[in-house]
Amino acid sequence: MIEIDKVTKTFGAGDAAFTALRDVSVTIRENEFFTLLGPSGCGKTTLLRLIAGFEPPTIGAIRLSGRDITRLPPNQRPVNTVFQNYALFPHMSVAGNIAFGLEMLGKPKDEIAKTVDEMLRLVRMEELKHRKTSEISGGQQQRVALARALAPHPEVLLLDEPLSALDLKLRKEMQIELKRLQSETGITFVFVTHDQEEALTMSDRIAVMSGGRILQIGNPREIYERPSERFVANFIGESNFLNGQLSAGSVTLEAGGTFTVEPPQGVADGKVSVLIRPEHVTLAGTGTKGAALTATVENVVYSGEATVAHLKLTTGEAIKARASNQPGAGGALEIGAQVGLSVAPGAVTVLVD
């Protein structure tokens, strides 16, 4: 278990000072796949470097399994890192790289040899054991970096955007691979990414960060379906933001329709912003009964597995409706047509703005 306790990190001093983390607190549970998600410059990599011990926090404490490690140098922390550029030692073989951490820990030779073989098997690289790291592909280097960091069996594995250099297909494979490694080794993974889809697919819990703060922590479903604020909703997935009036647990949209909602804490009755995901909006055909909203079709985008209709509500607000494509169904929407829209029950989320 890692406890980040009210950590602030400031680089530089005086006018050039830059605060990368502002009063961040989070508890990462044992054996959890925890993701720090946010745009570049949000402080996620800084937080990772603080946990690794490459930088000390300016204020605050970091505890690992109850022990204060705030001032411990990186070589004394049972934490290993998979670097974004892998940082494999170019003068050592694949096996030499994997053995490095164990050698530094002073493990006996036969145990090192055994663990190296075990790790090579774990990442499916047995046949490349004696290769130089410059002679293997990017995906293979990635696996060696993983094996090297896992070999000393750390309490926590830190991963700094490890998949960003891989192409899409390899990235998908490695996502599954990482999940498998995490469940097989039982090690806590702290994963840094700016890719929201990657975060949703792999994580047990996600912390969404922006401007050096954690905006929301939750499991992927909570983050996607109940984002606490507009930034989180906007950063993860496609969003429709509409204005409405909250009163006694239900929202009446300016564009029409009333929906029961669970308003988050601290939101008073009155004018609110709400989120509706495009896949929860269904085109109901012109003048269909039960359609809560009326809109004009502005554009239709076909993307293989789905079609997204861009529409304009009577209030002038833009809204998108996403529907997965059915075989043979080619009912083309006409641009400029008037359509009815229905919104799935429970799909309206009130945002803290």
Partner: protein
């Protein structure tokens, strides 16, 4: 329809179209290399003349090899270059680590300038300064061993060893050292297992460059040496004052060859990445 042709963007200028460039280039190459070519050619001359070719012979090489004064000077030169270059390389390695692997501290730029000082101060100034200091010490202690030459050569070799080592350290990925620390290596082990093996080509390059610089130094050696401490270059200078024979050409050719080999090895080491 005015000028529909796409214009080629002008980037820098081409040496091919620069007027007079070829003339300057050829002139420079000739002045640089023609004398050396003549020197090498006449080292194989059968006669004593430096101007008239009298047929091919290895006579001057044999004579130089048999000359005890030449042997003595050659051994001294090699010994001096080896010791001075080694000590300078150790110092330069430490200096390079201190100027690239530490956080910025006040005076860092100053230190950089001080290390490179011998490259900027005219050699004759350094030579005179060393002569005055060493002469005083010699009078005071009565000690006249080669230590003065070793100290002087070490001093002016440091920047030559420092530059390639620093260049190597600057291109090295510091995340490798971070990774070693992350994998439980102490500072010393990080240096021994990661930094040192990776900076090794830079150290060897620095050593060779310093060796070549020491080997062909005349000015400082001439001022600092005590009686009977001839190195190859000072011996040759002494020869030229008296009678000039192609023996000097033969010695020069050998030094040239040794230098050329070391310098090409140096370029190989510094150009190869990883």
């Amino acid at each position: 329809m005015a000028d529909a042709r796409p214009q080629k963007p002008q980037k820098g200028y081409s040496v091919r179209t620069l007027p007079g460039f070829a003339v300057v280039a050829i002139f420079t190459l000739i002045t640089l290399y023609a004398p050396i070519a003549i020197l090498v050619t006449f080292s194989f001359n059968a006669g004593t003349s430096m101007a008239i070719w009298e047929g091919f012979s290895l006579r001057w090489y044999q004579q130089a090899a048999a000359n005890e004064a030449v042997q003595d000077a050659a051994v001294r030169s090699l010994f001096l270059a080896l010791v001075a270059a080694s000590v300078a390389t150790v110092a330069a390695t430490m200096a390079a680590l201190a100027t690239t692997r530490t956080r910025h501290f006040p005076g860092k730029t100053m230190i950089y300038a001080l290390i490179n000082q011998p490259l900027m101060v005219p050699e004759i100034v350094t030579a005179v300064a060393l002569l005055i200091v060493f002469a005083a010490i010699k009078v005071w202690t009565g000690h006249t061993s080669m230590i003065y030459l070793i100290v002087a050569h070490t001093a002016f070799c440091v920047p030559f060893a420092y530059l390639p080592i620093r260049a190597r350290l600057e291109t090295m990925d510091t995340s490798l050292e971070t990774a070693a620390q992350d994998l439980y290596a102490s500072r010393w082990l990080t240096f021994r297992r990661v930094t040192l093996p990776l900076m090794w080509p830079g150290i060897v390059a620095g050593l060779m460059l310093a060796f070549v610089i020491s080997l062909d130094d005349v000015v400082i050696t001439e001022f600092v040496k005590s009686a009977g401490q001839e190195t190859l270059p000072t011996f040759m200078l002494g020869q030229l004052r008296r009678v000039v024979t192609p023996e000097v050409n033969a010695i020069s050719t050998v030094i040239l060859l040794a230098g050329a080999i070391l310098v090409s090895l140096f370029f190989r080491l510094t150009s190869k990445r990883g």
